[in-house]
Every structure is written in structure tokens, then in C-alpha cells.
Symmetry: C4
Subunit: 245 residues, 4 copies
């Protein structure tokens, strides 16, 4: 295991491993996507898996990376190409302690259709608020990029577009959510952002939805934060059963 | 186990535990949502799980709550925040013996789009009748609530909106169904309300559906009530297999 | 086991039991729906489960029923209320040897929206041909029925609407498919009618589909009939694995 | 095992068997569909299963077929009727080393609606590029075919329509994707073509999508090719767990 992980509690490590498995179990990530936590002992470092499918991640696959994207250890394994998503968001947002990047399917359409804005249509998506920003990589990388956030400049542009929001959509690619409490909150948000997108898409086919007001969204987000372990305990049981079957 | 549960038969307790597991197995609830039954020995009390994910509920997690939301036992565990949904419906509707509250996904769009009315489009949804009412919490709680039915006043307003119906939609939140026969009927209704919503959404995309008449809806609801154990026996087998795998 | 089953081969019995399990496994039936075969030794009798969920059917649950809906044995268990669907179709169609009745979800919208006609949009649905008829029970049972085909008159009206087709939709209820080769063909058609409905719904959202011509539909249906055991063998393996897990 | 398989490595054989199982596990094929690889020792031969459901294929079911569709061995088992899809594409495209033919559901609507063009809407579908061609079998087989590519002439017409693309849609039938690296790439493309179709359908309901430019599509396709084993390793683990449960 990465020596720089020494300062992280076993509970944090376990939560991060569970987070990888839960995100796969719930269909938020497939072979791609990643989740990280800020190192509790050094805000200039985050913990994330080496480059591999989240469902297969074990504690021994975790590594420490500096905010500029350089692995801490000299003999580190190959990191994710898009680790700059994580590093630059942690750099720009001192309040953020966990980040999930995914290609979850219901959100992507809201990122590719100008004028379609993801917003809170149900209380479980309250953290999305009145509108989710969209990152158009063409503005930074030009019209012929490979769509990946593969350097600090692109990561910084993404973080800027995220601003103070909890989620940023990435055109033709996916989305990234952040948590300010812990990795469980970031997982919760990734799961319910996807569900909110599905509900919103369906509602838009029926007519013009009544969305949550800014006050309702903030209130519901707070209420859900207080209850998030109810879902986490269920999800953890599910991935444990799945892995032992 | 809660001492106030003494008057409830072991069959009732088992049905309520099964109901929790079945609602999760069929996707009606996830980590959130709850199901209750009125106490057979005291109409002023209902039985419900302590605050936890329905899929994980065991008989030892059940507790008794008075219609005003106060737990019967002094050393009761933490109850669901939204127990007032149950208590106030039992208070307003002497005929109701079971209540399911959920965020099932296909129903929510009908609750947020003005003019989109959930109604019986197939015989399995006959109990919905010609229109399902929608509870707009803003009318009672103002424009900045956290969307939750967290006190008697909101529970009472919800029960009033339910009226004599079998289901009430909750804007930006979910829905609540009731049963007058037993908890199996309430579970049956929660499952098929969700399915009816899915069928109705699909039909609306094809054109203007022919809905069930009031007579057809009432007839089909009665016929289904007589057959509900055919589904219950299947669902019970499914959750038993799932828990032993 | 029903004494009248004596003339049926063990292979036929096994296929009918498998058919029940396969239709559930593939989501064509849930707790409701039923499948039958005409008795190979007496065209005036069909074999079907007693009234229960298809997924739970064993060989000992099968019973023999005359075309008018009367069970052959005096001490027969309770039959399905809607056995008249089967009996009257076998009576009207000498070529039919198997019948599946279900509420499969993607088909129902085509039965409730006037002008939306289910037809073959992919070669796997060739047996549907250029249009599937819709049975409107109100024309026979009036505006206040319970929607069920619960007597010979309604069964006969349904069979008349089926005509020479392989499938008939039932407004606000479901659909019924027939097979002229064996029960495997009827199961195949029930599975792919549902899939064709899903494909057609999606295609209609994109624009105006090019449907199969009558010649293409007939040709594809014939080609598929010759290959149906490729699917059956897979499905049988799946339900065997599922039941032993 | 087919003697002509002697020149193929055990790794290649295992990948082809895994490909069959993975395509089923991910819902790309059901009882129908097939996957092949060009023989590494003889470009005039390809390796494919005998005619059976992909999920059930074992190494002993593989056989060698010449590009004109004739099995290499004299005592070969029954081959797929549509082996001409594979043979004629290998003949027309020297760069192609693997082919997947399927009826995956989200793609079919794009093949039947004139004017609806499947194209890359997310980076995972970059290989689709700016438009996927559609093969209209009527142009070659007339208005009354059985829709199957059952001879060399139809296979050749399909290969011509494929041109230099990575995917060709088949009207009212399905689609065929090719890989120039290995069978893993063809599987990857079959999986993500289906997902791209689903995303594009959803996006089209929200409005007018911003698609990937030709440059973005090419860049993303290249980046994904470099990462494809991350998904393959996951999928292989999944089918192994599934088969041992």
C-alpha cells in the first residue's frame, strides 16, 4: 500500500473502497469513472484508486496524488488520466473533501442539449439547486480534443465552471459531483443526481414541471445530509452480499 | 421488541417485515420510504419500523407510535421523521389499516407537472380510479420548506388532500397509498401504482389514451383485491430466496 | 396430478412448466398471466396451471380444462378466472396449440391509444405482421365491466377479434398470443411481441418508421420459427440456474 | 475442436469465448447474434461459434469458416445462417480482425427511421463518428426477403454499405460493428454503440444535441482504445462470477 496512506484511518480507507463498489453496484460508474477523498492529514493530497475499474478496487489499489496531479510515491502505479478533475477541484474548493466523476447515463443528455438545464425536481436532488452548470471543453481545448480532462489547465477550467455548485455537467462526457462532509455524501449525490435527471426527463415529456425553489432545494439538501447513512448502510450491505455470492 | 407490539399476531408482524423487503425488492422504495399497519388491538396506534432502510428491517426493529406521532414506549428508538404521514391518515380515515410512503420513480413526474393526472389506464391500476390528487406542500408550509411532512399539521393537510382516494401524490417528493384490507393490499397498490404511471407515461407519448371508466376501475379494483395473494406469495418467495442467497 | 394429463408426454409437461418459469424470468408475466397447451390426445381439452403465479408452477399444479372452461376432473383445484381466453381461442382456431396471456408492459400502450397500431418493426417481430388487432371489452361487456374475460361470451368475442392473427391486444389489460407449432413458439412470440412494442415506441419518438412489408414479415416469421430452439435452450438454462441458486 | 483452430492461440480462443458471454451479460445479444475473429494464421478464414446462443458457447463450439461462408472442416457442425455478414466484411476490409452482429435494442430505431442518424454524442461512442450508415436490405433483396443476410451477395452489399465506418445499421434487423485491433475492441464498440444510441435518443427528446466534432470523435476513439482493457477486465470478472454462481 502507498506509504502516504499511513495518515488515513482504516474507516476512511474502507469507505473509499466501498464507495467504488457502491457506485458500480448502483450503475453510476461502469468500467470507467473514479472517486477520491482529500487526505485528512494533508489538504494538498487526495486519495484515489490506481487506474482500473472501480468495481475491482481493493485497499491495496489506493494511491496518494498531489493537487497538481503528481503521485506522491516514486514507485506509484499508473494513475487515472483524468486525475486533474480531482486535483484542481480540491485546489479551487477548500470546502470539498470528496469527488466523484462518472458517465452516468441520464445526466449526459442535459449536458449536450443547450437550454436543457438539470435542476432539482424532487427533494432527493435538492443539492442540485436551481441549475447545474455545464462545462464545454471546446472553450478551453478547442474543437478537436479527445474530450478528456487530461491536464491542469483543463481541470482548472472545469473547477471554475463548477464554481460553488455541488455538480458540474461535462458536455458529451459525463459529470462530476463533490461532497463537503465526506465520501458518503459525494456518493449519495452522484446516485441521486442521476435519479433526478431521470425524473426530470420524464417530467419534461409530460409538460412543464414545478421545480423546487432555492429555499426548498437547500432545505431538502440539509435534511437529506442528516439521513444519508440510512442509504449508505443499505448500499454497503448490498455490495457485501454481492461480493460474497 | 416494543412491548406495545404484544397485541399483534406473529402473522401480522411477519407480513409487515415482508412488506418492507418486498417494497425494496420491487423497486418501490430504496434506502428511504416506509410502510405501517394500524395496531389490530388499538386503533389509536400504528406499527412501523424505526428509522432505517426498509430492506434491512427485522421484527425487532418494529415500534408502536400513537396517531399524533409520539412513540408508545419511553425508551423507543429514533422514529421516521415523516411518521406524521401515517398517523394523520389513520386519524382521518377510520377505514385505513395500512399505509405505504415511497419515492417510486414513475409516479413523481405526475406530481410535478400541473395538468398531468395519474389515473387508471390498465386494470391492475383500477384502485387509482379516474384521478389521483396531488398534495402541494407549499400551500401549507410556504415556499421554503424542506419538503418533508415532519409535523401533525402537514400530515393532516396531506390526509385532507388524500380524501377518500387510495393514493395521493406529493409534489417533488413521492406518493402515499393506503389499504383498507391489510398491508398486502397497500403493498399491491404501491407496486401497481408505479406500474400504472409507467404505462400511462408511455401511452401519452403515443397519443390520447382510453382510460378506465369509473365503473371499470372499481370493478377491476375489486377483482384484483380477490387475487392479491397470488402476487404476495410470489413476492414473498422472491425475498426469501434473495435473503438466503 | 390431474388424471386427464395421462395422455400428455413428459416432454410436453416439462415444456409447459418451463414456459411458466421462462415467461416470468423474461418479465412477460409477473404474479399474473398464464400459458396453456392444447391436449395432444384430445383437441377439446387444454392443459394449464391451477390459479397461481406462473413462476411458482410445478408439474403437479397442471390441470385439464374443456374448451367451455369446465375442469375435466371433479376434484380439480381452483382454475384461472380468465381460462375462457384459452378455451374460446382453441375452439375458434383449430390450428392453435398454445396460448399465452400476459400484461407485458410495452404492449399495453398500443392497446389503449386509438390509432397507435402495433406492427412488425424488426424481423424478430415478423409474426405480428402489418397490424395487431385490439379487443375493446366495452363492446361486449358494456362500460362498467371488471375488464376480465370471465365467461365464454367474452372469450368468444376475444377470439373473434384475434381472427387469423398471432396476437390480439386487450384494451387496458394486456395481450394474448398464440402458437401453431408448440408452446415454445407461443413463448417466443410473447417475448418478442413485447420487444417489438418497445422498439416501435422508441422509433416513433424519432420519426416515422419503415415497417416490414407483409412479405418481409412472413419471411422473417418463418425464418425465426426454424431457429426458435436457439432461444429456448438459453432460456431453459437461465431458469434452471435461477431455481438452483 | 475444429482442427483448423490449431493455429489460434489459447488466449485468442479464450477471448472469443469470453466475448460471447460478455455480449450476453451486457444485453447486446440475447439468444441471437454472433461474434467472430479473423484467424491469425490465415486471413482467408474466420473463427466463430457454431449456430447456438452466445451465452452457451464453449471453446469446443468454435469452428473455422472461409470468407465465402464455407466451413473449413468437412464434418463441421451447422454454422450461423448469417455467417456471410462476417465473411464478406473480412473480404472487403483487410484491416478488420473482429466482427460483432447483434440486435441490440437502442440502435434498431435509428435504423428504421429515415433521417434519424446515429452519431457520437458522448466520448465513449467516439468510434461512431459523425454518422453511421444504414443498410436497406430491400435494395438488394427486394421487398419480400426474410431480412436475413443469408448469402454472399447480401453480405457483400452490407460490407459495401459499411465502407470505412466502424458500424453499420441494418434496417429492421440490428447492426454490425467491427474491430481492427482485436475482439475486445469489437465488443467494446458493440457495448458503447448501444449506450450511445440510448443517450442520443434521450438527448433528442430534450432538444437539439451538440454532437462530437469529427476531431473530437477521432480523439476520443483513440483515447478509449488505449483504455479498453479496463472495461474488459471488469466484464470478464462479471461473467466468471455469473457462471460460477
Amino acid at each position: 500500500m502507498d506509504a502516504a496512506l499511513a495518515g488515513a484511518s482504516s474507516e476512511l480507507i474502507q469507505d473509499l473502497v466501498d464507495a467504488n463498489h457502491i457506485l458500480y453496484h448502483l450503475g453510476v460508474v461502469d468500467g470507467f469513472g473514479h472517486v477520491s477523498v482529500r487526505h485528512p492529514g494533508d489538504p494538498g493530497i487526495f486519495i484515489i484508486s490506481r487506474s482500473m475499474a472501480p468495481a475491482l478496487v481493493a485497499a491495496s489499489d489506493l494511491m496518494c496524488i498531489r493537487l497538481d496531479g503528481r503521485p506522491v510515491s516514486h514507485n506509484a502505479p499508473a494513475p487515472y488520466l483524468e486525475r486533474f478533475i480531482h486535483g484542481e477541484i480540491y485546489r479551487a474548493r477548500a470546502d470539498v473533501v470528496a469527488v466523484v466523476h462518472s458517465h452516468s447515463a441520464a445526466i449526459i443528455p442535459f449536458g449536450v442539449v443547450p437550454g436543457a438545464t438539470l435542476r432539482a425536481v424532487s427533494h432527493m436532488g435538492g443539492f442540485i439547486g436551481e441549475s447545474a452548470p455545464v462545462f464545454e471543453i471546446r472553450e478551453s481545448a478547442g474543437p478537436n480534443s479527445d474530450m478528456l480532462v487530461r491536464n491542469n489547465e483543463l481541470g482548472s477550467a472545469l473547477a471554475q465552471r463548477l464554481g460553488k455548485h455541488s455538480i458540474v455537467l461535462m458536455r458529451g462526457h459525463g459529470s462530476t459531483v463533490v461532497g463537503s462532509l465526506n465520501v458518503r455524501q459525494a456518493v449519495y449525490r452522484a446516485v441521486y443526481a442521476e435519479l433526478n435527471a431521470r425524473l426530470q426527463s420524464e417530467a419534461l415529456r409530460l409538460g412543464t414541471p414545478v421545480y423546487l425553489t432555492a429555499g426548498e432545494a437547500a432545505g431538502a439538501a440539509q435534511a437529506n445530509d442528516n439521513q444519508q447513512d440510512r442509504a449508505w448502510n443499505l448500499w454497503k450491505r448490498e455490495v457485501q452480499r454481492s461480493s460474497s455470492s
